[in-house]
Symmetry: C2
Subunit: 334 residues, 2 copies
């Protein structure tokens, strides 16, 4: 901003830079009267410490990087808010990045953030190709939502949800409601979320001793780009009578397709989604959804990260947060 730095303050206050620095860091080694005088001068001069210089010297920036696939996905929005709230409480700022699920973009972001010397990273991994240890060195990283399968991925704390279980419950409920040709539209099978949600779907059929029709499984992307097209195909050509959308971005595509074609939900087609949003309760038909503790995922990830930044050396943790199915109108055949 202006050009008042620590030495200007020091001169004006007739003390050394060291003393000013001590006041800045609340060192108890400074006589209270001196400290008071220095603070007064700081105020008068409108002094703002340069955190770049501080960081350069002390190797901590009070900044963490947050890398998600797309903050427009309400799942990530809420997680990011959880992260930011805790970060703010701990006097940290966050740098937000969107990868759009592209491993290359993710890699570039990580490099940029490491160069900017963030104290740690929270990553919803886009892919498996990145070798995280090579990228971040010994900087702490917490993975959220997905466990990357790349090299060294097992060396970092990871926060997941009960994907398989949530998915199994949702599909089981559709089966019990009387639907039979139940389709799933999900994202890439490479990610934990992708294959675990698919696994839950398959398990539900197995448990009910029902046959699995592979043409009812659509693997697109979690960004929702291909969901509409997939839904159209399922409804028009595959004779499906229910769709399980593996996240809310996919659901939007399904809703669009259903509205266009004019299928009645839940009479002609059942519907269910992984990730519960507020409006799903208020619209008609209300939409059956698997709730994930998104905000808590964020706060948990951030609290883990803060512990690692503080130097915690305990073994790597992987936790699964619980999900809950809320059955609403869209999955109940009249």
């Amino acid at each position: 901003m202006n050009h008042v730095n620590i030495s200007v303050v020091a001169k004006k206050a007739n003390v050394s830079q060291t003393t000013v620095s001590r006041v800045l860091n609340n060192s108890p080694l400074v006589k209270e009267s001196t400290a008071e005088k220095v603070r007064q001068v700081m105020e008068d001069l409108g002094y703002t410490p340069n955190e770049l210089a501080r960081g350069l010297r002390s190797n901590e920036t009070k900044t963490v990087g947050v890398i998600v696939s797309n903050v427009l996905n309400p799942f990530f929005t809420s997680m990011v808010r959880g992260i930011e709230d805790l970060a703010n409480k701990a006097n940290y700022n966050i740098m937000l990045c969107n990868t759009d699920e592209k491993a290359e973009k993710e890699k570039q972001y990580i490099q940029a953030l490491v160069s900017k010397r963030v104290d740690g990273l929270i990553v919803a991994s886009a892919g498996t190709k990145n070798d995280y240890t090579a990228l971040v060195g010994n900087k702490p990283v917490v993975f959220v939502d997905r466990r990357p399968s790349g090299a060294n991925a097992g060396k970092f704390d990871t926060i997941l949800v009960q994907n398989k279980e949530g998915s199994r419950q949702a599909v089981t409920q559709l089966i019990e409601a009387g639907y039979r040709r139940i389709a799933i539209i999900t994202g890439s099978n490479i990610s934990t979320t992708g294959y675990e949600r698919l696994a839950g779907y398959e398990e539900a059929f197995l448990e009910k001793h029902l046959p699995l029709d592979r043409s009812l499984i659509k693997m697109g992307d979690f960004l929702g780009h291909t969901a509409y097209k997939n839904a159209i195909d399922l409804i028009q050509n595959q004779d499906c009578d229910a769709i399980f959308a593996a996240n809310s971005m996919i659901l939007l595509g399904v809703l669009k397709a259903a509205a266009e074609i004019g299928v009645q939900i839940p009479q002609q087609m059942g519907l269910c989604v992984f990730d519960d949003l507020e409006w799903m309760e208020y619209c008609r038909p209300q939409i059956t959804a698997v709730r994930q503790p998104t905000y808590e995922m964020g706060t948990t990830a951030m609290s883990y990260l803060l512990e690692r930044i503080a130097g915690k050396k305990e073994p790597v943790r992987e936790i699964r947060l619980p999900v809950t199915l809320t059955v609403r109108e869209s999955s109940q055949k009249k």
Copy 2:
């Protein structure tokens, strides 16, 4: 990360630090063969330039601060995505902050970001109490969504939408659809969004020569905290037959109230909202909404900011992006 810095690279490559620095900055002053050698050494050593040191020296961090009231509001989510996309293209990172509309929190964020030497700031101002020039000095700031009325606020570029016009159109349509006791639930009257949307509401009544009933005007908050309670009161005690929600967070409270009380939309009550979200088109009843170009607001703000960072000295700009009303089921009495 590790301890390889510019001098290590220089030694290993048998050149000076200057040369390494030049290679880093793609200076044309370096012989290609030398540059190639240096690059090779960098690669071998896994060298990552320290942006803190660079920023300290060069006074630019390639980082901008983004301050919104709440990223959970899809309006801001989309704007943030727009900002981040353009930032990424321009090789910038963003620091994201949520103020929850608290002037004090906003002030602390600004101070922190200025200390961290962001190159500029995009702010959806929480209040009027902050003197932005005092806070940011001569650092560029672009205001979005709201024009702060505080000291010196007129010195910064500002991106707004046609609040009054959008609101007027929405309420006019409700009137023309036959609703008469049309209520508005809006946020604080201090913000541009607050008073302009209210002004549009009032103008619609004036134009139609209809009386204005002050008991149908509820001024709560844009975070949506008080919307439910206000909606309950309007429906149960004020005999209102339509509600205009001044943003989507408020709409959720209204929907909740309507669902609980069991009023039929649009037969018993009309509904309309400022800010159009994808699901509003797919749920039943489809919700009439005023669309704002949220993503474009973000990219526009960021492009303005980049210009200012680059040193553009032109007069302060204030622009209004257009809004469009999409009439759907919720505002059409059968």
